[in-house]
């Protein structure tokens, strides 16, 4: 198909357990650092020993005026900080009308989870008769998108995207489609999540999928996933505009695929995943031979990792055995609605530096996971095109393809 625009990534922003900017985050991923430990925000005696990936050093006063903090749930604080970094690092100016033509699309799995928890605590434990007046606009799942739009002054199409663990990938994919089709001239897109609290963790405990040691994607003896938090954002713009203003082009977004399993609420389906990968390749005019590296969904659950392995093999055939695949969730946990953005930024940095980050915590092969997962140590890899996979509860799948700028 002949689209009016090619779409490039010119800026990235990160808030993560391993660092509050892209550079710190990426350096830590390459070194195989992990941000996983017992939770500090919830008393451990109330929990079943699961570990999490918390952001411990985020001080909102560093980023916002005192009076601006209260109306921002932690999830929106993360979103705005990541979006600001993405905009600043791209060097883009939204003046001369571009602000009116710039989209803001931000994914989240839950929205303002901490505000909700705080309201419930006041009502049901403290028997308070009222809650904080801005509870509603702090909790709403579009708050991260709205806050990014307000803080950056962006007035084009703006909305939240909600697809659990695929939210950010869907958000970036939709932004890519809009800029490619000429519906918007630029976009700030990504995802944010901040739901490490008692209520959320109890919900995850009840699903019986939480690891008590660490996140070991694709490894034998993996015990499950580790909940994380954070935000990631990218600036997308047309190749023409990026060239005209002499921007540093980090990567070109070339393909996006999305499917639904229409099967099970929590168990992944190999066909849904496979079709998402295949659609992404077809959308980008790519073949299996073009794929040089995959940043996997790789949650560390029994079900995801073996199903994702089967899907990669089904979609890429023999090529699957030749390419390195890593799960950066082994280091930053699973940040749900932010995960796809944290991972796309990692994939873009992998392309820039020609390095595949490691899958940490790897103890040895599981017979059901028999591909190259870059175990425990980063590796130099010549790569031109890479994929970033996201597969969500509810059977919602999204895959992005990015390429080195040509």
């Amino acid at each position: 198909m002949n689209w009016p625009n090619r779409v490039v990534v010119t800026g990235t922003g990160i808030v993560s357990p391993l660092g509050l900017d892209t550079r710190t985050y990426w350096d830590a991923l390459k070194e195989g650092k992990t941000g996983i430990a017992l939770p500090t925000v919830v008393p451990s005696e109330l929990l079943q020993k699961e570990v999490v990936a918390e952001i411990k050093d985020f001080d909102p006063k560093r980023y916002f005026e005192e009076r601006a903090i209260a109306p921002l749930d932690r999830v929106s604080q993360f979103a705005v900080v990541a979006a600001r970094e993405a905009a600043a690092s791209s060097g883009i100016s939204f003046e001369d009308g571009l602000a009116d033509r710039t989209a803001v699309i931000m994914g989240t799995g839950v929205g303002g989870a901490n505000t909700l928890e705080e309201s419930y605590r006041r009502l049901f434990i403290e028997n308070a008769s009222r809650v904080y007046p801005l509870s509603v606009p702090k909790v709403m799942p579009n708050a991260p998108a709205s806050q990014v739009s307000m803080h950056l002054g962006l007035r084009g199409p703006a909305f939240g995207v909600v697809s659990a663990c695929s939210s950010a990938t869907h958000a970036i994919g939709l932004a890519f489609q809009m800029v490619r089709a000429g519906i918007a001239d630029a976009a700030v897109a990504g995802g944010a999540e901040a739901c490490i609290n008692l209520g959320s963790l109890k919900g995850w405990e009840a699903l019986r999928v939480m690891a008590s040691d660490t996140c070991r994607p694709f490894s034998r003896d993996r015990k499950g996933l580790v909940i994380g938090e954070g935000a990631g954002a990218v600036v997308l713009e047309t190749l023409d505009n990026a060239r005209k203003r002499g921007a540093t082009i980090l990567a070109e977004v070339v393909g996006f695929g999305m499917t639904a399993d229409a099967k099970d609420l929590t168990n992944p389906d190999v066909n849904g995943m496979t079709r998402a990968i295949s659609q992404c390749l077809a959308d980008g005019g790519l073949t299996a031979e073009d794929v040089d590296y995959i940043n996997a969904h790789g949650t560390g659950t029994l079900a995801n990792d073996q199903t994702e392995t089967r899907a990669i093999k089904a979609a890429l055939g023999e090529r699957a055995r030749q390419i390195p695949i890593s799960s950066t969730k082994s280091m930053v946990g699973h940040a749900l609605g932010a995960a796809g953005a944290l991972e796309l930024v990692a994939a873009v940095m992998s392309l820039r530096d020609q390095v595949a980050p490691p899958t940490m915590g790897y103890l040895g092969p599981d017979p059901a996971c028999d591909l190259d997962y870059v175990p425990n140590m980063a590796r130099d890899v010549a790569m031109d095109t890479v994929l970033s996979n996201s597969f969500a509860f509810g059977g919602l799948n999204a895959v992005l393809a990015v390429r080195r700028p040509h």
Partner: protein, 83 residues
Amino acid sequence: MADVATDVIAIIRKKVPGDKQDIKMSDKLTELGIESIDALEMIFDLEEKFGIQIPYNANSAATDFSTVGDVVKAIEKLKGEAS
């Protein structure tokens, strides 16, 4: 401990599709049609009923609930530890 078995079977029966009445200790949960989400709900109901914590992780075979009898045995053991 026949009472535990009766209670466990009553809880399991709620998750079995259709109107199957004769649930035996040797019946396999999967053959009864209990799938992953049913199993989660069943474990929740068992924990609530007996006031215990079942150390079940979907990613580990450490707690193997293959048959109805396995569930009954595990509950009896956990009840014993709790009291």
